[in-house]
């Protein structure tokens, strides 16, 4: 005996298929008594409700939301900021009784899943830029986070202003500044940006942060030396160390490190301490993101807290709301011992 279907159940109970359907989907369409009877009969028969795939075909919506990660799942899961974001999305989706389909930003084809999902929450510009074109044309709902797509709703923080605030908080008039930037150019290793062409619009978060840093420096009459702006391809210990070591051995040695992620900042502090530098006396450091680990580290890190879990919740809520606005979330500058 195969799995019962709505039709087979209807026949078994001697009622029409619509009645069964209504019993599950529109309780007001039939008497309580009948509904009760049908429902209990269904459990008897081992029928646990309408087939969701058929339902999705018929209704055009499945209750599944795809989250497109900017990178591979592999990378995302190991990055505390990304996983916090995911946690927030998951929490809110669970509240909405929706399901979460994880989609890698390296994938080539959106349409392997578009038909299954109600839409996309896109966390950061996908590494495979081809996806962007597909997302723009996609008929389904698309919400972007940490970047923008014309005509689509988005959730962001004001990265320029946040970076500006963080720089203003640490900078002093005679500082020598270095910036440890995240994904500023198209290179797979840590290196000075120098003359390499900037990726412009896509990883815009980083560029807005850079703008913010530079605005703050400008106001203090500070300038950024050519070799003092570094590109770091991924927010991890290794790549950050390479950059930090290089930058801290330059002369004049920087007195301030503006770091585009907390992970980078922590690595940089580790390197600085190994070099025997005193923080904050000889070197001040400021990060970006706000992750728990910075609180356990000594010295604690000054950073922009952007509450990624809340961002995830906000994204899932905004996705659900159907509103098409571009939302700006609050952030908070928190000063620690590193400045």
């Amino acid at each position: 005996m195969s799995k019962p279907t709505l039709k087979s159940v209807a026949k078994a109970l001697g009622v029409s298929t619509a009645t069964i359907s209504n019993a599950f989907n529109r309780p007001d369409q039939l008497s309580v008594a009948l509904r009760e009877k049908i429902l209990s009969a269904c459990t008897e028969l081992g029928y646990d409700g309408p087939n969701k795939a058929a339902q999705s075909l018929r209704k055009g919506s499945s209750g599944i939301v795809a989250v497109i990660l900017s990178d591979s799942l592999e990378y995302m899961v190991s990055d505390p900021v990304a996983s916090q974001f995911l946690q927030g999305v998951a929490r809110e989706l669970e509240r909405q009784q929706k399901h979460l389909l994880l989609f890698s930003g390296n994938s080539t084809n959106l349409d392997t899943i578009t038909d299954f999902v109600d839409g996309f929450i896109c966390y950061g510009a996908p590494r495979n830029l081809g996806l962007i074109g597909q997302l723009r044309q996609c008929k389904k709902r698309v919400l972007t986070v940490d970047f923008d797509l014309p005509g689509r709703p988005s959730v962001n923080i004001d990265n320029e202003q946040a970076a500006y605030d963080s720089a203003v908080a640490v900078l002093k008039p005679d500082d020598v500044v270095a910036v440890l930037g995240l994904r500023l150019i198209d290179a797979l290793d840590s290196r000075p940006v120098a003359d390499a062409p900037m990726w412009d619009n896509l990883s815009s978060v980083s560029h807005r942060r850079l703008d913010g840093y530079q605005r703050a420096m400008g106001e203090l009459g500070l300038t950024l030396a050519d070799d003092a702006l570094w590109h770091i391809p991924e927010s991890n210990q290794h790549f950050a160390e390479v950059a930090a070591k290089a930058v801290l051995s330059q002369s004049p040695r920087p007195t301030v490190l503006l770091c585009m992620s907390d992970l980078i900042a922590l690595s940089a502090m580790r390197v600085a301490l190994q070099l025997g530098l005193q923080i904050p006396e000889q070197l001040r450091v400021v990060g970006f993101d706000g992750i728990e680990e910075t609180l356990r580290y000594h010295p604690t890190l000054s950073s922009v807290w952007q509450f990624s879990d809340k961002k995830g919740e906000a994204a899932a809520r905004a996705f659900q709301s159907g509103l098409d606005d571009n939302q700006l979330l609050p952030y908070e500058l928190r000063l620690g011992e590193s400045s």
Copy 2:
């Protein structure tokens, strides 16, 4: 103009729907020339292949695999062992061109998604035990990892033997032993197991490990004091510290700590060092899992390495293979400075 369908495209090209379908799914059913023509015409029309939802309804398979986590997504993403596993699954699924649907072990109802997916990879017994019953009856393919379900394929390591090996490697005849166990009883805080009824079969991994420890101790004539077997509800710093502090202040003080996860072992070592104990002279510690962090810590931890990413890949492969055997993966005992 709405999205083209197979039918509309067929009409536009003046051929039958079957021909279009064949052009995409069964190239051998029509001439190369015609196929070429159809395919290019389709891209013209903006038709990028059969609707996957309809296809899934028709064929009964979707290419989506659900991974059921034992806990909330929240917890899993923050646990290095679990995320390593997920990485492995994701990597292999990507290879298979399949998609990953994440499903929380707290959820109540499997059948919100069963109809969408080709089956389930279930990582550890789900926290909501109700799911287990549903999984047993599920018509779709179910593969379990780190626990077993009658008649279902599974991927495991030999936890009893691994635990035994690890204990044998650290124990000496006159040792005082304490066990920091993971999820041994149904309690939300860290506490001695004492007389609390053991959860038996479900979180069986822990109990098999305990069996292994006890076999090793038995062979050395050692016994485990009643208050020396602790339950820790989650593999995290806080709960582990509580247990470690308690155990290390007992008298006689343990000379060996058998820990059911590396995270627990690391916390325990931290506590021990704070108490001024010398490792391994006054206290030897052994962990379980094998995570990178133990290599960066000083002293490095002796532990059972179970290569969770490989386990994830193996699970995804076994799921795909259709074979119904119970697979036992290799592990490796690696000794560090902690013993």
